[in-house]
């Protein structure tokens, strides 16, 4: 069967984005990416992917809008509280044995998970020895992460999640309500760095003891998933921890041998001492 015109245009658009802007979406899962690109096409008033490609190549100001469609930004503070409870109760005891700690939140979106871990590490008394790296490819998401302001209507579920995660303080200790938003305490960012990093194109940038990368790999095809997991393995110190999303696993990865399962239910893995 001949390749559908829309499929040709779809691949060409991804190629154009890569060559002009060096953002590589070519290894993303097709079904979800195409769905989001169709939304972009509609919202940006283009009749085809070719027209969208023309627009993006000749009008750099259209690119940030496109990027916001290409990246998925759905997160919460302490999303999946049981995961954070497992980090707190099972992983932190190991982390305590290190004099200094580095944590990498890969695909941090607007920073929800970085703030969650910053709060958790403060509650566990590890804050002063920890650096948190939040990375993402979306500059607008990174700006929002840097600002640390979330809509007030999200606070009730954040509060409930925090409580269920075994929170030892009140979430309200960490934010002030202002101008319809919850502004998180700047001191939480004292030990956090947000920066641009692509799991599809960039290399390892630090040796870390914990990588948390949740609901990011599901948007990648198998080869790109493998590349990302390889980066995590290379970045982790011996016996370092890797936390994935509730429906993600290392089962199909060529790097699976480099890890052992630490908490099956919460998808937490540990790099082998000899890997």
């Amino acid at each position: 069967m001949a390749e559908a015109v829309e499929d040709i245009e779809f691949r060409l658009l991804l190629e154009a984005v890569f060559r002009k802007y060096h953002y590589d979406f070519r290894g993303y899962s097709t079904a979800s990416l195409k769905r989001r690109l169709r939304q972009a096409r509609e919202r940006m008033n283009c009749s085809s992917f070719s027209q969208l490609q023309d627009r993006v190549l000749h009008d750099p100001s259209a690119f940030p809008e496109l990027i916001s469609f290409l990246t998925v930004q759905v997160s919460e503070l302490f999303r999946d509280p049981a995961y954070f409870r497992a980090i707190r109760e099972r992983v932190v005891p190991y982390l305590r044995t290190y004099p200094s700690l580095k944590v990498w939140v890969a695909g941090c979106s607007a920073g929800e998970e970085v703030y969650s871990l910053a709060i958790l590490f403060r509650e566990e008394g590890l804050e002063d020895r920890t650096m948190l790296y939040g990375t993402d490819i979306n500059p607008e998401a990174l700006r929002r992460a840097e600002a640390g302001v979330y809509e007030l209507d999200r606070i009730p579920s954040f509060t409930e999640n925090h409580r269920l995660s075994g929170g030892k303080s009140s979430l309200s200790d960490y934010y002030t309500a202002a101008y319809g938003g919850a502004v998180f305490d700047k001191s939480l960012r004292r030990r956090a760095v947000f920066s641009d990093h692509s799991l599809a194109a960039d290399q390892v940038f630090a040796e870390v003891q914990l990588v948390s990368c949740r609901n990011v790999l599901i948007y990648f095809d198998r080869p790109l998933q493998d590349r990302a997991i390889g980066l995590f393995k290379d970045s982790l110190s011996r016996k370092g921890f890797l936390g994935l999303g509730a429906k993600e696993s290392l089962r199909f990865s060529s790097h699976a041998d480099g890890f052992e399962t630490f908490d099956q239910a919460e998808r937490i893995y540990r790099k082998r001492g000899d890997a």
Partner: protein, 192 residues
């Protein structure tokens, strides 16, 4: 367009889903030659018992869908709670935590639309009981790609809104009882 030889079945159900699925899936043999994708609206708990509950009464294998796994015939793939289930063009499964669609995650429309692209005329879409309109748009996409549509008769459904919306979107879809849907799914592969 005439539907082609069936290659896959896509099922969507909401309120009353367990009962409806229990009237259909036990009728499929262990060696049913097609994969079956199922999206049910469930509360976003981490562990769904749906696959295990259904397996007790079924011969066909029933599993929760896993990200990027290759699709096998004779298997029912159930979308996990709180994730969309998508079908890739290379006929693998994908999960996604994108925004809910029509307040639903998983969304029947999202699964139907991506399955329609992957299977075209080879897809059979089935809309069962439910109290919203999820699935209508997806069934239209299945029909537009040349696939066929089966809808539970609204007057025989626990909740009639969802099958009614599907029939409004696709007036030429077959309106059948659960019994007839089960027979149709068996009958269309009987000569294989």
């Amino acid at each position: 367009m005439t539907p082609g030889r069936a290659e896959a079945v896509a099922v969507g159900a909401s309120a009353g889903a367990l009962e409806a699925l229990s009237a259909i899936l036990p009728g499929l043999p262990a060696d049913y030659p097609l994969p079956v994708f199922v999206v049910v609206h469930l509360p976003p708990d981490r562990e769904s018992l749906m696959a295990r509950l259904l397996q007790d009464s079924c011969r066909i294998k029933i599993r929760e869908a896993e990200d990027k796994e290759a699709i096998e015939p004779g298997t029912v793939y159930v979308a996990p709670p709180d994730y969309h289930l998508l079908i890739e063009p290379d006929r693998r499964l994908s999960l996604s935590s994108e925004e809910p669609v029509l307040f639903s995650r998983p969304s029947i429309d999202v699964m139907f639309e991506t399955a329609a692209e992957a299977y075209g005329p080879g897809l059979v879409g089935v809309v069962l009981t439910g109290a919203n309109s999820d699935g209508a748009r997806g069934l239209r996409a299945i029909r537009a790609a040349g696939g066929s549509g089966l809808v539970q008769r609204p007057d025989a459904a626990t909740a009639s809104a969802m099958p009614r919306a599907a029939l409004e979107a696709c007036p030429d879809a077959l309106a059948l009882t659960l019994q007839e849907i089960a027979e149709h799914l068996r009958g269309m592969v009987a000569s294989r």
